[in-house]
Each structure stands twice: as C-alpha cells, then as structure tokens.
Symmetry: C2
Amino acid sequence: MIDLENFLRDNGLKATRNRMEILTILMKSDAALSHTDITERLGDTYIDKVTLYRTLNVFTEKNIIHKVASEDRNWKYALHLDDNSNPETVKEHAHFVCNSCDRIFCFPMEPNIKLDASRSEGFLVNAKELRLHGLCPTCQR
Amino acid sequence: MIDLENFLRDNGLKATRNRMEILTILMKSDAALSHTDITERLGDTYIDKVTLYRTLNVFTEKNIIHKVASEDRNWKYALHLDDNSNPETVKEHAHFVCNSCDRIFCFPMEPNIKLDASRSEGFLVNAKELRLHGLCPTCQR
DNA sequence: CCCATAATTGCAACTGAGTTGCATAATACT
DNA sequence: AGTATTATGCAACTCAGTTGCAATTATGGG
C-alpha cells in the first residue's frame, strides 16, 4: 500500500479525501473506468460530478492516469501501467475494447511494433496504441 | 469513376442524391471526416443534420465506411481502405491521430502484429487497430 | 496552533454531438 | 402510372462533459 497523500503532494496536488478515494478506485480496477463507473463505486461517498470530472482531468494532466476515447462516447480513465516519467520517449499502450460491453482493458504493449511506413510520410509519432476489438471474457458466455 | 447508383443499390440502399453527395465527399478525403467536416464540404448542398447522421450510420452498418472514436468526442467517418467482404477475417486498421488538430488518417495496416498475449488471457479478438498519436504534417509547422 | 493564501469543491446553468418521433417526400418495383 | 417502402426534414430531446462563481478546505509560515 503506497502512501497516497505523499504521492499526490509529489505530483503538486493537495491531498484531499476526494482525490484519494478516486485514486484508490482506479488502482483497484483492471479495466478503464468511466465517470459513471467511478460514481457507482464511490457508493455512499458523495463527490459532485463536476469535481469528479475535474479530478480526472487533473490526474490526466499530471500524467497519473490516461484517458481513452471509448466507442460509447464516454471517456474511460485508467492508471498508467508503464513508467511514463520520461516525456521524450514514445509512449506505448495496448487496449482491448469489448464490442459488447464497451469496457476497455489495458495491457502492457507488445514490443517491436514496426511503424516506419507512417513515419516516412511526414507524421511525427509520439505514442503508439495497439487497440484490439472483440469480446471480453465475460461477454463471450 | 465508379457507378455510385449501382454501388448503393448493390448494398441494398436506395440511390438518393444525398447519399451520393456524402459518399463522394468521403471518397475524396484522405482523412476521416466528422459530421461537421462533411457539412462544410457540402457547401450549398443542404442536407439536414439528422439525415447526415442517419446516412453515416447506415453506411457503417452496411460496412461501406467505418466510424472511429476521436479524442475530440466527435465520430470520424472514413471509407474502408481494405477489402472487408469476408466478415470472418480479423479486420485490421491503422490510424494516425493528430494531437493538435484531432484529425484521423487511415493507413494500410502493418502486417504481422503479434497479439498472442492478449488472446491467451481469454479475449476474443476480431479487429486489430494500430493507432498512432502525434503531429500530422500540417501541425508540425 | 492559528492565520492568510491559494487551491479545491459544489451548485446551477450551459454546451454541443448525437438521437427519437412523426409527418411528408422520394424511390423502386410491378 | 400506382403503390409499398424507404428516406428526409423538422422539432424536441438526451446526456456526457464544461463553465462561472461563491463557499470551503489544505497547506506553509509565523
């Protein structure tokens, strides 16, 4: 169990109860979570919807989490699986997107994805995302 | 120049002026287009916004185009670059997403992306999308 | 421990992409 | 040409996410 208070302060954020609650929920999930998902998991802990949106945006700006555009038009938020401390390196993500329940799961990136073709056409790549679409284990039954 | 009328009828759709206009615009673009993009390109040709949304959804259902969830929360629509006649095969896309202008460009997929790790965890993959994030040629200047 | 300052929170109202219902118009088929 | 069916346009709606602002809370210095 890491020290959430100091983790937040190390990222230049005040260590508030709201933020620790939200971070704890994100840490416990193996899938990326929508605003609604997080609200449900908060249960009796009331956090205003605007505060939740703002917190998620602050976490994203501080590179604590990343947000993924989902097929159901909702943002999904997830912790970084990889070390993202160096902004110079090309970020690599892999996501599995379920066609049925629209959940998004994060995986470690497969190494050695080749992308010379697109770079040569004048596109500057600073993040690579492998996005797999299909049925998650739950939705296959 | 292919015969748009017969193309639409072959896909079980009535060949209306609206649909041919929209299809022509999609064929001429090298980037995926949003609803707004298409409206702009229609110029004086007035098409109701609901009709445009419905047309894009029908094209997507008929597998004539595909829609991509963009980072600006707008759907982007683009023709299929590859042959998608066989629904059994695993579809492969590659998209470049510009961080600055949010445009999405479609590329032919790099071959031989390995994804054994995710399949072994119980996920059923039926489409693979390589999504590259960065700056497009225009936004690098 | 308390105070001042700046950051955070909550509420209300708003924005804008995309959808639904329904009446009218256009297409395709005999 | 006549008719069933599909497509279109308009109005009203939905809902995720944002903005403005006043009230509250965290933090660092005395």
